[in-house]
């Protein structure tokens, strides 16, 4: 008989333990095994099975992974993404989080016809690999204290467009990522650590701060400090 191992799934009201066949395979396969054989009510989201559609992100032992790209182990604890409304078991509402793309206006503001070079495309090659899985958002500690924070993926996307030579209105993006945006980030790097595509939102946010300075913006936290201490000298 095939050996089995146990994984735990946080289903909101309770944590349920399930036995799945022991094999070196993905967590998504284990979830399907449970749904098809053990408990048809187990609810999770998935689509492409190959790490490109961004649908199946969950947390395993507190860390964000794509279920289709993670090889499960004995006693893993599987939970839904953080800072998302949990709809059922591991299925979350991504709709509200997607609103950050609208508030940051992370799109090409004004398309200008211009020659784009190999090197210029390479600048945002990684950023445009984003699959909107929301792993970075779930890992971000700022959202614990500020639910209105735009969050990492929308800021990476903002950077992706300001770094595109076709963007004819960089300020149009920069203006929208000041409040609850780039200055709220603590640069902890959790987002970079969990990104399944190897994107570095922490670096993108740092670069956005640099561009913001060119448009006359500065760190509001620093201004507050300056106000407190500045008058004494």
């Amino acid at each position: 008989m095939q050996r089995e191992l146990t994984i735990a799934i946080n289903r909101g009201k309770k944590i349920t333990h399930f036995s799945v066949p022991e094999e070196k395979t993905t967590l998504l396969k284990a979830l399907y095994y449970i749904k098809e054989h053990t408990d048809k009510s187990l609810t999770f989201s998935s689509s492409c099975r190959s790490g490109i559609c961004g649908t199946c992100a969950v947390r395993v032992n507190g860390k964000e992974v794509l279920a289709c790209s993670y090889t499960f182990e004995e006693d893993d604890l599987i939970e839904p993404l953080a800072y998302h409304e949990i709809q059922r078991d591991l299925k979350v509402n991504k709709q509200r989080v997607r609103e950050t793309l609208k508030s940051s206006k992370a799109w090409l503001q004004k398309s200008q016809e211009i020659q784009v070079t190999e090197e210029q495309v390479a600048v945002t090659e990684k950023q445009t690999d984003c699959i909107l899985c929301d792993s970075c958002y779930s890992s971000c500690p700022v959202l614990e204290v500020n639910p209105d924070f735009i969050g990492p993926f929308a800021l990476t996307r903002a950077y992706r467009y300001i770094a595109d030579p076709r963007e004819g209105n960089i300020k149009g993006i920069i203006d929208n990522i000041q409040s609850n945006g780039i200055w709220d980030c603590t640069l902890c790097g959790n987002c970079t650590e969990v990104c399944p595509q190897g994107i570095n939102p922490k670096m993108d946010i740092t670069l956005l701060r640099g561009t913001s300075s060119q448009f006359g913006y500065s760190d509001p936290n620093f201004q507050v400090m300056d106000f407190n201490f500045g008058g004494g000298f």
Binding site: K24, T26, K35, E36, K40, S41, T43, F44, S45, S46, S47, C48, R49, S50, G51, I52, C53, G54, T55, S69, Q87, R88, K91, N93, K94, Q95, R98, L101, K102, K105, A106, W107, L108, S111, E113, Q115, V116, T117, E118, Q120, V121, T124, E125, T128, D129, C130, I131, L132, R157, Y161, D164, R166, E167
Partner: protein, 537 residues
Amino acid sequence: MLDILIIGSGGAGLTSALTAKEKGATVLVVGKSYPTASQTSMAQGGINASLGNITPDSIQAHIDDTIKSAHKLCDREMVQELCQDAPNTIKWLEKLGVPFDRTNDAKVAQRQLGGASSKRACYAQDYTGLKILHTLYDTCLKEGIEMIEEYFLLNLITEEKRVLGATFLDIVTGEVKEIQAKNTIIATGGYAGIYKGFTTNSEGATGDGIASILRAGGAVSDMEFVQFHPTALKSSSTLISESARGEGGYLVNTKGERFVDELLPRDVVARAIASEMQKGEEVFLDIRHLGEEKLLHLMPQEVRLCRLYEHVDPITELIPIKPVAHYSMGGIDVNHHLEVTGLSNCYAVGECSNAKIHGANRLGGNSLLEIISMGRKAGENAVKSLLPQSNEIESNQRQQDQEYIEGLFEEYPFERNFYAIQHELGRKFYQHAGIVRDNTQLNNLLNELRVIKSDLDNMGIADKQVENNTNLIDFLQFQNSLEIGEVLLDSALVRDESRGAHYKEAFPNEEDKLYRVNSLYWIEDNVLQNKLVKVID
């Protein structure tokens, strides 16, 4: 009343929404998943346009290659229109901000794909579909296009063959909703998901839109033509893009021998691989000689997928592969305007449609081109044909669907596990309705499928919670793929010849006299009807 309802939020749906909105119509995009989760994200290799940036090329050469690959089943006018529009399509995508790779003189980079006489596929590493889709999505947000996610299409609302919108199951609340519109565009994707376990497609490629057209009295065609992609990973069926061979990758057997010209069209290469496997050989993709630097730059995704799903490092090891179901050439039958045959005020576009572009075998790089070029056309045409005044109708479709869904929660003993049947059916479709087909086996499978259909009353859903019930969605998708599978098998049985992706050992030749036809299917008085329609040049 809403002007245009677009069902399906992949590349075709989003493109038609952007175009229709630009032309002044009110639009609403409705999909069963989030737009960025659609199948378009999985397209890797590229999008064809005869720009000639690397090697000399022409629109005529693109047309010729497409027609040749289609094995005389395509509509020349449609192919011509598509190929002519290809350079504009790239320009349009460029304007939106798609980050295509470049040459060192700042032109859009192009690569070789199978069956192409020039380096014609524009690409963004091996993330072409992903980057096009996300750029379209960003543009939709910019243009304020309303998108509703997690609405599962149930049925079209019709009145005397006129389509007036559709009913949906709101997956989150479990309620049945009705959306009426003057015109409807179906862009719901293909049906290769029926080859469960043996397909590169996502779980949702169950042909929901195609099945809804059949139920509404519209026609589908050429459903027997399913493309098998030569190189999917052996154990997981994950796609390894044709660009791997385009860049110079080899196919080798256990002895390390090459056995086919890797850049022939997909149907030929898939059959050559199947034939090696029949002899007991294992088949591998060998890209080691391309070198680490090139592989990591041009095919970062492939390298990752091989390591993750096959536990091999393609930089130093051979990649075990098998051909699996990849693309549906057949689909909703449409005319030159992309209007659905047998219904009015309804359009279909993208993989769910049969615009007679790909014929019996699609060329790599033409599917992304189709969803954008034809997506724009569908959006435009749906606006042009808008009636100035239109009132909502009293329809009992929502009520009927509501009752059906409620019935699923009450009845159904769940004596048979449909998931197990779905897997079994996927395997049998691969074996008997796959790369090489045989009438006895097709017939047996068709009978088996009909038995399963009549046994649906013993299946049903075990999960009885109304909200967020994915067991229910899985079951509805399963039913759709059964309806489609029946047509696929019947049309494969009827076509006693070999043409493109459809191959019968007993009938190895193209029989133009009898079968240079499109096979049309529709339902009349609850009975499946068919007709073979001659292809006219």
